[in-house]
Amino acid sequence: MPTVSSSDTAIEVIDLHKSYGETEAVAGLSFEVRRGEVFGLLGPNGAGKTTTVEILEGYRARTSGTVTVLGLDPQGRPRDLRERVGIVLQNSALYANLTVHEALSHFASLYPAPRNVDETIALVGLQGKEDGRSRTLSGGQRRRLDLALALIGDPDLVFLDEPTTGFDPQARRAAWETIRSLRSLGTTIVLTTHYLDEAQELADRVAIIKDGRVVAEGTPQDIGGATAHQARVSWTDEYGAKQEIETDMPTKLLHEITGTALAAGRELTGLKVSRPSLEDIYLDLTMEEPGDE
């Protein structure tokens, strides 16, 4: 891993531990988030993702380890830090009887240098809903207001916890566009998600957490090491059975297979060359062996 100067680092976590009584939810976790990147935090339920993020957000105290967020220790929730961090929580808690504009104006007044309210409404795509009370918004619109409330303080760093859960495909695409435009504005984003395609689509780098530890960290393209990214050639043979071979040299393998088939005058139905998606690698890394408990 290249060493980077601290000014390029948004978040640094070194050997983080968090125990609840006898159970260790986070067991020696380390990773780093660089400024301006979208960092995806992945892992199965109960892996320690939420605990980790809540420690970074200042909601929880750690048992041991070093945590630095924008150069500050989040424990004790320094106001300097809260002014520069935006948080989107999993459940959207809104004042049902406030309008979108009123809610944003109120929260803007809590920050020393807030974003413009109308600009923020446009950024999340809530134009035309300014004067609608929160209770009249659809589920997707509520999530967008949620995001807007996290962005109103013009934060340097935004935590997004499952930002598109329950979205229809169009709403997801729209949310992704918003996240991309945020990134292009230079905002650092920590994204927790269950959707591997979302991480693949948005994240510059991801860390996969399992049992309170980071089991892999890297770009979605090369996480898991070279062998995890071997090409897979698959086809259906003359008996109708599905065949799959992993290889470093797909060209050579393909040439051999197709050569044999041509010579025998057979057609290779369903012939496909693929690379494992982030989802395949994720499942490989986090799958529990039966009886592994």
Binding site: Y59, E83, L89, A93, Y95, N97, R115, L185
Partner: protein, 260 residues
Amino acid sequence: MSNFAQQQAPHRRSAVTLAWRQYRLERKLFWRNPSAAFFNLMLPLLLLLLFGAVFAGNKKYVDVIVPGIAGMGVMASTFSALAFNLTFLREQGVLKRVRGTPMPPASYLSGLLANAVTNAVIQITVVILVARFGFGVGWPKNWIELGIFLAVGVATFGALGVAFSHAIPNFDAAPAYVNAIFLPVIFISGVFYDTQTAPAFLKEIAQILPLTHLIDGLSAAMVSGKAISTQLGSLAVLLAWGAVGGVLAVRGFSWDERGN
């Protein structure tokens, strides 16, 4: 994308300004929930009108019910409302959201408490006006004494309400929990009758409860005009409850849903 706000020098608002803003927001929200506002303000008024109409002309009884309803109004708008609202705000995640902003916790809670106090003051005012013009009860005899008991009353019941919200497991259970305390307390404490006429064992329980002493104090200030020097015992009991409530309110406070 740049904007003007960003280019201005950072301007951090004071804790007092933020408490004021929160208070203004809470008032706006209070009036935007008409059924809650109606219930909060009209229930004591309705009870007063009802009992007043039934016992109109019985000056002795009206003199009991006026400070009684006033005391009940203080308890309802502080203890019940805060226990109820905090459970809701905690369960909804509003407290957690606020905690993630630069809002100082003390400013936020001050805004919430000031909102409850405003409702208590509105209720007392309504009770005084209805008593004066509806039932011919005179103006309160001692305004300073009234102010002191009102201040101590809202502080005590406010603290107890915050403390009690920690004991409520979830919002669905909140009405049951709150009423399980509120209803027996208003009956035993003599909102609707003179505790001196109650059976001995109820009288003894009443002597421990803070509402009895708030009503005694309000009665002295509003009806009998007894000097505050005769009410120091009641003041002491109220303050003791307030101190216990305050400690429990602060120690048990949780911004997050239970179980987290």
